[in-house]
Amino acid sequence: MGALRRYASSTAAVIGLVLLLVVIAMAASAGWLFPEDPLSLAGAPLTPPFTEEGLPLGTDSVGRDIAAQIFHGARVSLLVGVVATGIAIGIGILVGAVSGYFGGAVDAALMRLTEAFQTVPSFILLLMLVVIFGSEVTTLALVIGAVSWTAPARLTRAEFLTLRSRDFVLSCRTLGMPHARIIFLEILPSALPPVIVYVSVVMALAILQESALAFLGLSDPNIASWGNLIGDGRRVLRSAWYVAALPGLAIIVTVLAISLVGQGVNDLLNPRLGRR
């Protein structure tokens, strides 16, 4: 409980948590508040916000309800964020742990692979994967996860490199403990905090990448996502800039919330840095 209280002592972290809960609530209530297909026509095209009852945020260039798209878009962003992050962190921890613990040739080989993946611009690789595997939204989440594992891997490896020569790990080896047990039960718990903090970065980037793909018109066109809406708004930018502006604000709020929560967790796990 002390941890919760310490988290609550940071205003920024609390704001982040509240914003994140709001976004989650939006995603959860989308089907209930906007039961209709968000991509169906709801009114006259380009109805400005706050002018018509029932269409609080107006309509886009073909007359679809912007508010409905934003609420349903929250589901897409969160889904992509969670799935992609899970995959990226999972691969990253595995690669980083094995690489850092064993060192030597194993490390060299895995690090070459990591370097290769870091050299290819991940967004361009993403474009290629979208062409190959299609742009269905779950595929998209998997693919984004598959290009985002390098940073968590490096982070985990760095932690393992320092921890593996700590005396407490050596003592486990002298007690005859098997490698797998040392890696996952002895070292990993100590190596996790910085990686957990990094979860927020991976998730924020995943959401941004999905929205960028959608903005370029390369995401799933059959779902309501924030990026799709901005891409649509771009075509009417000069006459109705709010179509692009509103979903952008939703992205900012979501990413900001994730970053703030990440920061709060960081201060919690590394109290040394948080203290003045």
Partner: protein
């Protein structure tokens, strides 16, 4: 001499790296439903076996995967990336045509983000945990949360549509027909918004790194030595802290070179710049896998080149870098 050895070693490391990249990409292409020829034939609306066989041998897509791979690597050595199916031109020509815009965009953004990140980061570190630091951190986080394409669109609304200060897109104003210096100035004007847009998120990253690095350097023992020598606070900051804090900054700049190139795809699209990123987007739309492969390979080469330059800068800053045998 030390630098030369460093360059040679980095190059020798980047060749296997490029090899792995190519192998992974080839493996992925095998998973694609249908190849470029299928896409082409699909566009033509026919289904003729002899035609597709002919086209496959023309584009080098017949034979085994291994054969295709070795063939591709062999041709790559002579900078031959094959033909673009969508454009019917050699991929390398298309890439070289588009590359300069992307390079200029990247270099400008990086320089702007790096410089601004340093300056603002130092200021934040100077007032760590006090209000200027808090304001800077909040702004940084806000900037970091903004999708670059959205920022770009909003900048267009404000600076191009409403205020009319800057052009909304393109690399130069063709109708004006500028030459010489006027042409360069015109291009610079076209680049202001794209470079800012691309650089913004990296500015937020650099700013945070610089702040942390400065705060950390300030606690190191040699800072105390410098003070004990009688150095005044400002000199301690500039002579001893700054250069040490730049080391993680340079490392981060290297790590972000590839994501910057990825970001360029989106920014080029927002501002209709004829760069590599736009080419990639077109390749996706046309399902031109061969061109996409070429772009991916060449952008990796570009990233390797940028990292080489950054490694040299790092080695110049830090005498401890052991370039080894």
């Amino acid at each position: 001499m030390r630098i030369l050895r460093l360059v040679l070693r980095r190059l020798s490391l980047s060749i296997p790296c490029l090899g792995i990249i190519l192998a992974v990409l080839f493996f992925l292409l095998q998973l694609a439903p249908g190849d470029a020829v299928d896409a082409l034939i699909g566009q033509m609306g026919t289904s003729d076996d002899t035609l597709s066989k002919l086209l496959r041998s023309y584009y080098g897509l017949d034979g085994s995967v291994v054969g295709q791979f070795t063939g591709y690597v062999g041709r790559l050595a002579t900078l031959d990336l094959g033909l673009s199916i969508a454009y019917g031109k050699p991929v390398i020509d298309l890439i070289l045509e588009r590359l300069p815009v992307t390079v200029v965009l990247m270099v400008t953004s990086m320089a702007m983000a790096f410089t601004a990140g340093c300056v603002v980061g130092v200021i934040a570190a100077r007032y760590v945990h006090r209000w200027p630091d808090t304001i800077i951190s909040v702004l940084g986080m806000l900037v970091y949360s903004m999708p670059s394409f959205w920022f770009g669109l909003m900048a267009i609304v404000l600076f191009a549509v409403t205020l009319g200060w800057l052009p909304a897109g393109g690399i130069s104003d063709l109708r004006a027909g500028h030459t010489g210096i006027a042409h360069l100035l015109d291009m610079a004007k076209h680049l202001v918004m794209p470079a800012l847009t691309l650089g913004l998120i990296f500015f937020a990253v650099y700013l945070r790194v610089m702040r942390t690095a400065m705060v950390e350097v300030m606690t190191l023992d040699f800072m105390r030595t410098a003070r004990a020598k009688g150095l005044q606070e400002r000199a301690v900051l500039f002579r001893h802290a700054l250069r040490n804090a730049l080391l993680p900054m340079v490392t981060i700049a290297g790590l972000h070179a590839s994501s910057m190139l990825g970001g360029a795809v989106v920014v080029e699209s927002v501002f209709s710049l004829p760069g590599l990123g736009r080419l990639a987007q077109e390749a996706v739309v046309q399902r031109d896998l061969n061109m996409l492969l070429g772009i991916t390979v060449m952008s990796s080469v570009l990233v390797i080149a940028v990292n080489l330059v950054i490694d040299i800068i790092y080695a110049r800053l830090d005498p401890r870098i052991d370039v080894g045998a």
